[in-house]
């Protein structure tokens, strides 16, 4: 659906994006990851046509990105706000009309969302009278009010309390199930695992990792297992695995082991079962957090 090809963005003293290419599939939830200052926001701004790349191209549904696509994209920036002195309803109407809705359609869509979010009574309120969490709900509605095909959320959960974060997460998933493609950038790796189908990791202006979350995790499997058993392991010396760490409590022992390349998990089990009573055997799969840290540190 969204095809980013060889994007380069140069600022006076530094290169924000260096030959970045990313493919986002239709209907997926895509995580754009990276440490602060990596170039995520620069890329998002280019997708939103706020700034233009120095070179490279972006295609949306096979068409080269152009101003007519603005109405198909919904964008919730990291630095977000509202006009403080304007009534919420008026403000929503303005923002929706800027996205290309007619006044009539905009009114209907806003009413639908206000009812859905249970904030109908806010229509005449001014933004300065709302709490921060309330404002974020309004901002989220402004992002999705024109029913965009592509929704881009830059750090959507920053500043949300857990309850509101859950409300927004559910809305995102619902929109996704109705066919919208979602890109979001975040630092919160647990929400990546929870929500994303695919990710791309940008570090120091370059894309260093991309793929489906499962694939990426598979790529970072290190043949490490966690074993728990009761009894005494008679020969701890073996060529099958090395023990990375061990804890024991009375008769119960917990080990983290790294299995040698020639062997499979079943070989280790076959080796263990005759000797001890195995009550836990689990592969240690790296979390996105681990993968993130591992990549960014190198």
């Amino acid at each position: 659906m969204l095809s980013i090809r060889n994007i380069v963005k140069q600022y006076a003293n530094h290169r924000a994006l260096d030959d970045v290419s990313i493919e986002v599939e239709k209907g997926s939830v895509f995580g754009l990851l990276g440490p602060n200052g990596a170039g995520k926001t620069s890329l998002i701004r280019i997708i939103n046509q706020i700034t233009a790349p120095d070179s490279g191209e972006i295609y949306l549904n096979g068409e080269k990105l152009n101003p007519s696509h603005i109405s198909k994209i919904g964008y919730l920036p990291e630095e977000r706000g509202l006009y403080k002195k304007m009534e919420i309803g008026e403000q929503m109407l303005y923002l929706a009309q800027l996205k290309g809705l007619s006044r009539h359609d905009a009114t209907e869509r806003i009413k639908y969302w206000f009812e859905k979010m249970e904030i109908v009574s806010w229509w005449k309120k001014k933004v300065e009278d709302l709490s921060k969490g309330m404002q974020q709900k309004v901002q989220f509605i402004a992002t999705v009010v024109h029913d965009p095909e592509l929704i881009i959320l830059d750090e959507p959960f920053s500043g949300f309390d857990p309850l509101n974060a859950q409300v927004i997460t559910n809305e995102i998933l619902e929109l996704n199930s109705k066919g919208a493609t979602i890109i979001f950038s975040t630092h919160r790796m647990e929400s990546v695992e929870q929500l994303c189908d695919s990710i791309a990791l940008i570090h120091r202006s370059k894309k260093i990792l991309e793929g489906k979350v499962k694939e990426v995790k598979n790529r970072y499997r290190s043949n490490t297992y966690r074993v728990g058993f009761t009894g005494q392991l008679t020969s701890s010396e073996n060529s099958m695995f090395t023990i990375l760490s061990s804890t024991s409590d009375n008769n119960d022992t917990h080990l983290t082991i790294k299995v040698g390349e020639k062997y499979a998990a079943n070989d280790v089990l076959k080796f263990l079962i005759p000797q001890v009573e195995v009550n836990e055997f689990m592969e240690v799969i790296p979390s996105m957090n681990d993968i993130f840290i591992q990549n960014v540190k190198n």
């Binding site: 939103n48 603005i70 994209i73 964008y75 977000r80 706000g81 002195k85």
Partner: protein, 432 residues
């Protein structure tokens, strides 16, 4: 619907609906009417609290005494100088003029008072002394007093504008007054509305709405929409001021002169004096009537709009570069300086030398022309100069808008950064 139009609508209506807009709209005409009423009132009555000067004449020349004038009254004193001086020490409103014995030989006149005497008081005294001295010299030369009284020429100039269409009365005074008022109005409104543009942009930046908006419209559309919207607010305000002032003035005039107009109609001798007194007020009205509104008003609008577009673009660039009002100072200076310079030059130099080459250039260069040209208008400006000035003004605001837009599109996305002029230059050079 066109997106720029949406932005213009929002900028316009959010401001026009504000209470402060309504307040300004009604308060300013009230003030204008108040001043207008005061002017007429003063013209009819003359000032009050006229200082009285006690004259101690040791020379014995000024036996005829001094004539009371509007700004000063005179009183011959019988006291000696020392007595009179004591009076001054005790009374802060007292003025004592001492004429020495040797005045004819160049002796010094002295004016004693606790307060500093006003310029009009001193000049009135000087005029009268000079006149009386001249009279005395003429009498000494053999011209008797009666002849002297008969030779009192009194002329005043009636200015007539003579063009191919014929001659007509003109009052250069009123025309100048209106043109100067227009220049001052342009000067003030360039600041007032320019700063509103700047504030509006800072508000969008600090409230962080700007990134949401420019994901829907181009930064240039947003900037232009804001400038045009606020400019329309200004024009609306001017229009309301003119309508309100004119109708209030009509009502006020009717009330003040009603009895006098009736007096003229009935031609009753008892009220002839009142009619004569009111003539000055009527003169003022007549003078305002001679102003060529059809010429000055359109030019005022053209130079206001042109000047506003030119300067508000610069204000917009400043607003985009900073995070708060307090940071604007260093960037404001290059904007305020040409405006202030023209304003000062207009009322000190151009007024006296409207056709000099400096005045010409000031009224041609786009950064100074909106004010300078207004001041030159009543003295007559050739058509080609007006056209050139307007053409350059249009070119000028296209240029500043272009430059400002290039700074603006980068500036509005820069948060929490201290910016220098060098940095602005870099932004200007950015691609895309």
């Amino acid at each position: 619907m066109n997106k720029t139009l949406l932005v213009i609508k929002r900028e316009y209506f959010t401001r026009v609906k504000k209470k402060s807009f309504l307040l300004m709209t009604f308060l300013v005409p009230m003030l204008i009417i108040g001043m207008y009423a005061l002017m007429i009132g003063l013209a009819i009555k003359g000032g009050d609290n006229v200082p009285t000067v006690e004259v101690v004449d040791d020379s014995g020349i000024f036996t005829r005494g001094f004539k009371d004038k509007k700004s000063v009254k005179f009183q011959n004193s019988v006291k000696t100088l020392d007595q009179a001086r004591k009076k001054v020490v005790n009374n802060e409103d007292a003025f004592v003029l001492h004429i020495p014995k040797d005045i004819a030989a160049g002796g010094k006149l002295q004016l004693f008072s606790q307060k500093k005497a006003g310029i009009s008081v001193i000049s009135t005294i000087e005029d009268q002394i000079n006149e009386q001295m001249r009279n005395k010299m003429l009498e000494d030369a053999g011209i008797d007093a009666e002849t002297l009284d008969n030779i009192k020429p009194s002329f005043s100039v009636v200015s007539k504008e003579l063009t191919a269409e014929g001659e007509k009365d003109s009052s250069s005074g009123a025309a100048m007054g209106v043109a100067f008022a227009a220049a001052i109005l342009i000067y003030m409104s360039l600041f007032i509305y320019g700063v509103q543009v700047m504030r509006g942009i800072i508000e969008e930046k600090t409230s962080r709405i700007v990134e949401v908006v420019i994901s829907s419209v181009k930064p240039f559309q947003l900037m232009l929409g804001k400038i045009v919207g606020i400019g329309l607010v200004g024009l609306t305000q001017f229009l309301l001021w003119i309508i309100l002032s004119a109708s209030l003035a009509a009502v006020a005039t009717n009330m003040i002169f009603k009895d006098k107009i009736e007096a003229v109609k009935s031609n009753m001798p008892g009220q002839a004096a009142a009619v004569a007194e009111s003539n000055k007020g009527v003169d003022l009205l007549n003078a305002l009537g001679t102003v060529e509104w059809g010429y000055i008003l359109p030019l005022f609008l053209i130079f206001f709009i042109g000047g506003y577009m030119l300067y508000s673009a610069l204000f917009a660039a400043v607003g985009s570069a900073v995070d708060s009002d307090t940071e604007t100072q260093q960037f404001m200076l290059p904007i305020t300086l040409p405006l202030l310079f023209t304003y000062i030059m207009s009322f000190s130099f151009i007024v006296n030398n409207p056709d000099s080459s400096l005045s010409f250039w000031l009224s041609i260069i786009p950064f100074t022309s909106p004010i300078a040209m207004m001041v030159r208008l009543p003295f007559g400006v050739p058509f080609w100069q007006l056209s050139l000035s307007i053409a350059l003004l249009i070119g000028g605001f296209i240029l500043t808008t272009w430059v400002a837009a290039r700074i603006y599109r980068v500036g509005i996305l820069m948060y929490g950064k201290k910016v220098s002029f060098k940095e602005l230059g870099k932004w200007f050079m950015y691609k895309g």
